[in-house]
Amino acid sequence: MTAPLIQISDVSKRYDDGPPALDSLTLRIDTGEAVAVLGASGSGKSTLLNLIAGLDRPTAGSVTVDGVRVDGLGEAASAKYRRARIGMVFQFFNLVDDLTVHDNVLLPAQLAGVPRSEATARADELLERLGVRRHAKAFPGRLSGGERQRVAVARALMNRPSLLLADEPTGALDTASGREVRDLLTALHREGQTLVLVTHDVTLAQECATRTLELVDGRLSRDVRHGLAEKASTVGGAR
């Protein structure tokens, strides 16, 4: 059996004195999977992504990604970890308004110290592939929502991450733009990109995901794999 890409063991996350955002969650995700995380607003979906990305630390438990203990990383190490292994896509794009599309896409490579010519070639290639090459010199404010999200995906893929995380990538898009992004993510997964996407969009989950998780109040209430064996299992509350 191969080592899991993501191993989350007994993870809890508590903010201040509220109820836990994640409650004793245990979860394993393998390379090549496309996992959709569903759940009501406030159920802990973004928190889960943040912990995987090393943007925040769990209150208890461990998060291991690609052999790296993410929960134990310092700020500098976690920045390096994100550069090398993680691509992130957000609901509201999070493009830097004062940088051109091209400069936005270049950012992760530049932060990682990739030589300029190499980074530019990669950026051009990605913009071309995602169909936004003609906007390379434009500022993000001029682009439509769907175009912006494609730029964001290009930026996320810049350093060839082993894991692409997307937090409601279609949440701010109209139906047509949502479809563009959905197709894009599906295509990426077909090419072997491991995906974890948080979404409300049932179509996205059905089309793109090989596995669907559902969170309720920070606990895993459903874990369904599609495809090969349509296996459903309900993982009950915590031990």
Partner: protein
Amino acid sequence: MSGVGRIVRAGGRRRVQSVVMALTTCLAVSASVLAAGLLVASQAPFDKGFAKQQGAHLAAAFDAGLTTSYAVAATAGAAGATASAGPFRAVSLRPTTAEGANTGGGNRPPAGITLPPAALVGRADAGGSVDRLDLTDGRWVAATGEIVWAAGKGPFEVGDRLTFKDAPGSPTLTVVGLARSVSGTAEAWTTPEQLAALAGQAGGYQMLYRFADVSTEAQLTAHRTAVAGAVPADAMTGAISYLTVKHTAERTAATFVPFVVAFGVLGLCMSVLIIGVVVSGSVGAATRRIGILKAVGFTPAQVTRAYVGQALIPAVVGTVLGVVLGNVAAVPVLQDESEAFDTARMTIAPWVSVVVPIVALVAVAVTAFFPALRAGRLRTVAALAVGRTPVAGRGRTARRVLGRLPLPRPVSLGLANPFTSPSRSATIVAAVALGALGVTFGVGLATSLANIQEGLNRRSAGDVVAHTRMGPPPGQQPPSAPPDPAAALAKLTAAVQAQPGTKRSFTTSEVELSVSGLAGAASVMTFDGDASWGSYEIISGKWFDAPDQIVVPTAFLRSTGLHVGDTATLSDGGHSVKVRIVGESLDLSEDGRVVVTDKATLAAFGPGLQLEGAEVHIELNDGVSAKSYVDELNKVLEPLGGGADVNVGEISSTVVAMDTLAATLTVMLVVVAGMGVLNTLVLDTRERVHDLGVFKALGMSPRQTVAMVLTSVAGTGLLAGAIGVPVGILLHHAVLPAMGRAAGTGIPPGYIEVYGPLMVVPLVLGGLAIAGVGALLPAGWAARIRTATALRTE
């Protein structure tokens, strides 16, 4: 305010803002209190101290051989004095630091050094009806063997031991206290019994008087004549009017005024800038909040009031702290300054501590009012829209151009930052430029002062100074025949030249002559031998290089109306000689009544001319120890009735006080400048926090974040240095000559042109340093902020 104010202030985000505002106000107020306080304090320190001490309007000296203490005591009544003190026995003696004492370092003389003659007075107590001395350290003399030195008049401290080799039995006394006489009646005091023992057959009497009518020099001259008339002819050997002392003291004080004013104005500009920046910054940052307030029904007036109030609360806290800090900081400075002024201890005038805070708070309120009014009048919809859409669009070209440069991305991002918010960058430039200006000015001032000190010390050239002793060698009877000073000097010079280690030497002597155009006598200093290596510092013209040429200080030229190139006549009763003024020297002694010339100039006066106080200025060969040279030379000189001392340069307490004050004010300016940067960047970083979150999510490490924030002030810091340093140089070039004018001297151009490239480059980089230090805290904050939190804010 009430409810509105609470809502406006609510939220922890405002806390940093309030702390910065309180601190900047505090520093601005304390600098202003200090500057204004010093300005006020320098106005009338002499009069204040003089009144408090019941200073002597006239201090007269009498020859003990020509009159009696009874006759001297009777002069007070005869001259109509309203109060008097004395007669006290007085004598002039040279103190030598005792072996084994004075271990101290710093500027203290080592053991075995003989200092110039000091006026000693025997006084049973420090009080009395005239000249009530203030003890600044230690206690008053209680027994024989003890002495109290005049504070600031010698390099001594309590516990030092001094030997008086010229006194019978060469007694050694211990300094038990330091005292200050505003009237400057003596350099040291001891008990009447001890003084009698020190003086032996020598010395005289001192009598101190106060009169009712003393406003003009003429009135004092009348009193002086009355005193002289009450004793036998020539028995009164001298009388110093307090107006002369006052003139000298206030001249020192006046010298402080130009640069204290300069710092005061700088502090004021800085205060206005910082208060304006902080208040409009905090109102600007809260515009959206204002929109919300108005949306729920607050009136414009309520909002305006709330914002002025919000600015005033931390400002009040800062102001109170600032007043306290300013007063505390003034203690050591004023202490130094009062020593320089030779007056009683001073404090900051109470009204300064009232007026400055009121002015500061009014300035805060007014500065806050305009942005607050803008906030109050803001259309609710517009206010709500602000903050939703970050001000974007500006500085994109700069970003793109800088992005092309082969720099690490965090650096090019940081460098482009100032272009995004030009007005904010302008405030950083202004604050840092003021700081750099202050540093430039302060450093230049200190350098020039050190130069001037060195120039003044050139009045006594050489590593070692040898002299013919005034009295007979210790323990011997006065010789029956009067000694021949010329013969003694010739022997002395020969001995010096024969001494191994001597490189070269020349001899100076002094004679009082009258000079055309100058009322009263001037001391003419004659130079014998090649004195070109030991010339005074020349302000204009040149050092004399032939007979019949003289060099005089600025004050001489000013009081005679003569210029370099003019001729003057030196004369005693019988002879006279025409001389040409060839140079203006840096010399603050004797109110400028000093003429320097070659000895040959006075040849016309014939051998009858009595030259006094001969000193041989000796330069030693490299590597020769001055101390052992002096020890060896003294073995030869003692039998000849002479002596030699190591030439210790003086450090004027005025220069020390100025340095302290300039350093204090410079540091304050720099700190306030740094706070200005800090405050602006805190605002800036808060506004960009979401972008920061994005950068960090994409893998920007803490170090890269710090680099980005620091480089965001690099350009502005450099620009500020490039603006502040030249202005600081201009200020320095304007203030120093003003200080010189107040002190009654010109300043050699070389002492003003102190800014070489070696100084300017670090100073310009200093602007960078100020900006960088101010940016450190926000940079650290930006690096530490949790990415998840940063991404959630919007």
